[in-house]
Every structure is written in C-alpha cells, then in structure tokens.
C-alpha cells in the first residue's frame, strides 16, 4: 500500500476515534473512563499521519526544486511484501462512520443465557449490604438490585418500592428488563435481568425499547436455577429515551 494511502487511512481512523470520543458514542463500546484514552489515541494517529504528509510535501518541494534525485524514496523498505494487511484499517472506519453500531441489547442477553453479574458478587459467609436509603421510591441500579436479591441475608429489598431503568427482552414467553454490565469494553459485557410480572402491559413493549419501572421484589425468586433473575411486581412502567450510558 502506498504511503499516502496509509496516511489517509490513519487520518480517517484517528478522526473516527475523535468523533466517537467527542460525541459520546464511545459509551456504546467502552467504559466512560476510556474517553481520554480514545481521544488521545485518535489525536496521535492524526498527528503522526500529518507529520508524515508534511515531510513528504517538503521533500517533494525540495526534489522538484532540483536539489537531489534521492528525495522521493518513500516506500519505507518493507512496504509491498505484506502491505495488504493495512487495508483492514478500513473496516473500523467504515463501521464507525457508516454503520455506527448501537450498544448491545437483548440479543446479547439471550445469547449469554445463564450468566449473571450477581454470581461474582458473593462474599464468603453471607454478604452485608448497607440499608437502602429512606423514601417511598428508591432509585437503584439493576446491578445493585440483582446482587441484593441474590446475596443479601438481611433482605433489605423486601417491602421496598424501587425504581430502575433497562431495556425490554422477551424470552420464552416472559418479559424481562435487562441491562449489560461492562468491565472494559462491550466484548466482556455480562447481563443482569429482572422478570417483570403482575402488569399485563409489559408484554406490549417492543424488544430493546428502554423503560423505567417501579415495583417491589417478590422475595425468594432470585435463585441459582434461574441465574439470579428476581421477579418484580410492577406498579408502573413508562418508556424512556436510550440513556447516554447504556451499560452499568
């Protein structure tokens, strides 16, 4: 591949990283703390390419001014033999600019059947959780809710109304709300799920639509057999826009 083409590809790829870093789309792929890494990587790519382009232009000018004939030995020694691999750099550029893949959704939840974040949180000898904050309706993350449902010996969730948000998954005849928990990037995302019950309208929500629900846990429904999927008696449910940070 020509040196110029490589430089253009680097500018495009660096630009793609800068774009998702600045628009917030990077949150669909990596955790929030990656923002400055993504931006720095994009900036370095663009700068390295611009530096090479500037050098080429300078050499070009010098060579055409008649300084010497050796000014255009651009191919850097090992370009042709395996230069084809650089074409792969097109793929992320096209994927980011044209397809812009959305955050993972229900497909990953049903695909990862049987895995749940709650399984990692077990602490030896029964876990002690801080009591939930006071108030009629407690806002809570799905991870916290599912973990408490599985391991909380003090049953702090019982008889408390909670509010959570997630996306809808229809699985084997029942309606779940789910969220994916990310360690580093979307490739390692692990699902947390809650079964929505006692509210017939839940089945009317389309797959992957985002909802906010309030409700109460049905004690004893979060077991190893159902991969720690507690049932929630839904008191209200409403559709919400996709949150900026789709993962937990």
């Amino acid at each position: 591949m020509r040196r110029e083409t490589q430089n253009i590809l680097l500018v495009l790829l660096g630009g793609a990283l800068l774009k998702i870093g600045l628009t917030g789309a990077y949150l669909n792929y990596v955790k929030p703390s990656f923002q400055w890494l993504v931006l720095a990587a994009g900036a370095v790519m663009v700068l390295l390419a611009l530096f090479a382009i500037a050098r080429d232009l300078k050499q070009h000018v010098r060579a055409s001014a008649g300084a010497s004939g050796e000014g255009h030995s651009h191919e850097d020694g090992h370009g042709h033999a395996h230069g084809r691999s650089s074409w792969m750099l097109m793929l992320p550029v096209l994927a980011i600019f044209l397809i812009a893949p959305p955050a993972l959704g229900s497909d990953s939840v049903t695909r990862n059947d049987g895995r749940s974040v709650a399984q990692s949180e077990r602490k030896s000898g029964g876990a002690v959780f801080d009591p939930l904050p006071a108030g009629d309706v407690v806002p809570i993350t799905m991870t916290d809710f599912v973990t408490r449902s599985a391991w909380d010996d003090a049953n702090t969730l019982n008889d408390r109304t909670v509010r959570m948000s997630g996306f809808i998954v229809h699985d084997k005849g029942s309606t779940l709300m789910a969220r994916l928990v990310m360690g580093c990037c979307a490739a390692d995302a692990t699902p947390v799920r809650v079964r929505l019950t006692e509210e017939p309208s839940v089945s009317g929500y389309a797959v992957d639509s985002w909802v906010e629900v309030t409700g109460r846990i049905q004690p004893g429904t979060s077991t190893q057999a159902n991969s720690y999927t507690p049932s929630l008696t839904v008191t209200s449910i409403k559709q919400i826009p996709i949150p900026e940070m789709p993962y937990e």
């Binding site: 020509r2 040196r3 110029e4 083409t5 253009i8 590809l9 680097l10 790829l13 990283l17 998702i20 669909n28 792929y29 990596v30 990656f34 993504v38 990587a41 790519m45 390295l48 390419a49 530096f51 090479a52 050098r55 080429d56 055409s64 000014g71 255009h72 030995s73 651009h74 191919e75 020694g77 042709h80 395996h82 691999s85 650089s86 792969m88 097109m90 992320p92 096209l94 994927a95 044209l98 397809i99 893949p101 959305p102 993972l104 959704g105 229900s106 497909d107 695909r111 059947d113 049987g114 895995r115 749940s116 399984q119 990692s120 077990r122 360690g183 580093c184 990037c185 490739a187 390692d188």
Partner: protein, 345 residues
Amino acid sequence: MSPVTSPVPTTTEAEPAAPERRRWVPSSLEVLCLVLVLALVFRDPLTQFFNVPELRTGSTIFVAVCVQALPFLVFGVLLSGLIAAYVPMSALRRALPGNSALAVPVAGLAGMALPGCECASVPLSRRLMQQGVAPAAALTFLLAAPAVNPIVLVSTAVAFPGEPLMVLARFLGSFLTAVVMGWLWLRLGKAEWIAERALRRHEPKAGDSKFAIFAETARHDLVEAGGFLVLGGVTSAALHVIVPGSWMTSLGGQVVLGVIVMAVLAVVLALCSEADAFVVASLSMLPLLPRLVFLVVGPAVDVKLIAMQAGAFGRPFAARFAPLTFVVAVLCAVGAGLVVFGGVR
C-alpha cells in the same frame, strides 16, 4: 498552492520506468477513493444488511474491541518509536544480563512495568529484538507484560473479592508461562522462524532528526500492527456470535472438560486482560481452576494476538509459537492452581 510543476513522482510504487507499457493497475489511493464512494452510495442497503440481531451484536463487539485496543496499540508504537530513536542499542544490552538464560526471567519481571494490554507489547517486543535484545528475552517480555502488570493484578483482586489467592495463582501461572516459553525458545527456537523483515533494522535516512525517526517508526508500526489488530477484532467478534454462551455455563463441576473449554474460550473470545477477571468471576458454578486457566491463557494466546504475531514476526513463527504457548500456558496454570489452591476448588 506550492509551485509544483516538474513531473517528479511522489511515490515509488514498484513501477520504476516505462509505465506506459504496463497494464493500468489501480493504485491503492484510487482503490481507497473507490471504496469510500461505494460505501457512501450504498450506505442505506449496507446499514439495512447489518440490522439483523446477530450482525448488529457482532459489529458492536468488533468496534468495541478496536476502540478498546487501539489506545493501547498507540501507546505501544509510541514507546517503540521512542526506543528506536532515543535508546542506543548498547544501553539495552547493558540493562539485561549477558547470559540469555538469566535474561529471560529478568525480561519477565520487566513486563510488570508496562501497564498495557497485549496490543502494546507486540510492537514493543519486536522493537526490542531489532535493538539487539535476545529473541528469547523479548518473547518472554511479550508474554509477561500483558499478564503480570499491576493493573491486571489489581483488577483480578477486585473481581475476586473473596479469593485473594486468585491473584497469586494468576501471577505465578502467567509468569511461569512467559519464562518457560523464553527458555524453550533458547533451546528449540530457530532464528529463521522469525521473518527476516521483523529483525531488519530501520535504517534512518541521512539527515533525519531523532524526532523524525521516532515519528516515522511509530507511524510505520501503527499501520502494520493496526491492520492485524483489526483482523483479530473481526475474528473475535465473529466467534463471539457463533460460539454459544451456554458453553460457559453448562460445564458444571467437570474439571478436566472445564479446563479445556475455558482454555479454548480464552483464545476465542480474546478479552482484554484487564477485564477478563470480571467475566470469569461471574461463572461461579465453575471451580476456580478452570477459571484460572482462562486468565492465564487469555493474555498469552488469543485470536487477536495470533493475528498480530503473524503480522509482526511472520506466519511460520506464529504457527509454532501460538500452539506451544497454549499448551505451556494450560500446564503452568494448572500447576500454579494446584499448588496455590491446594486442589481444584
């Protein structure tokens, strides 16, 4: 803008004189433009095509792997450029023991100082070889750096709050793998397996400033390794979608099968070494030993790394090095696990 009028060619596509007599072959620049135009024209059908659940999941995972790994690759090529431009060969030789058998464990410990993932260590270890470091030591560094650095060990401790021994077992298993592979390379490795181009030193042009050498080396390494990183990302995204998730969960307590399946999954899924602990931590139905195998094999050999190694050192190298690393990593992990846990747990 600039008064460029004389017909001096700006590139040396392998077409020296007489271009008229040859058939017209599109240059890479023209191909690039064509691809971009086609992609823009067929944007709507293309996005429609990717609107199937499997492909959507796959493309998200592909972009995620790239976005997550590219910063570390950039970090690696910048370090590689710095070494090429500013660190004289004699300094590196002095830093390592002259005896190669001793240099291997020292290189393994040096890996603790590079807080990156495997994408950073591939260009870096190749640079070390080019600067005259013994291949065995550079390969040990390649395997150790992504596996035993402090960030990985801390994230393992966070992922296994009830099992502090996991950190120790992971460190021992990974460190042993790296050192054993270095020693094996000393005994069995043949220099000709490593592609000649990998060891050829980049001869700086007369008059290049040190900064120019740095920037050109980094740019060159980035373009080359980046292509293979993307290839690895595609492979891992495809396997993510194809391999059923139930593989992980239906193993139950079968230890031998668990070790084998988890080792294969580590290769196939190509997770970042800073996040893999969180994934296996969620598989509480498995004993600790198979999960340790996953953590030791993953940073040493996975589809992303194999692609990048084939790119950096050549296919003959990767075809020997990757399978051997796999076997050694599984054995070291099982050994370290049995000793540290006192059983399969």
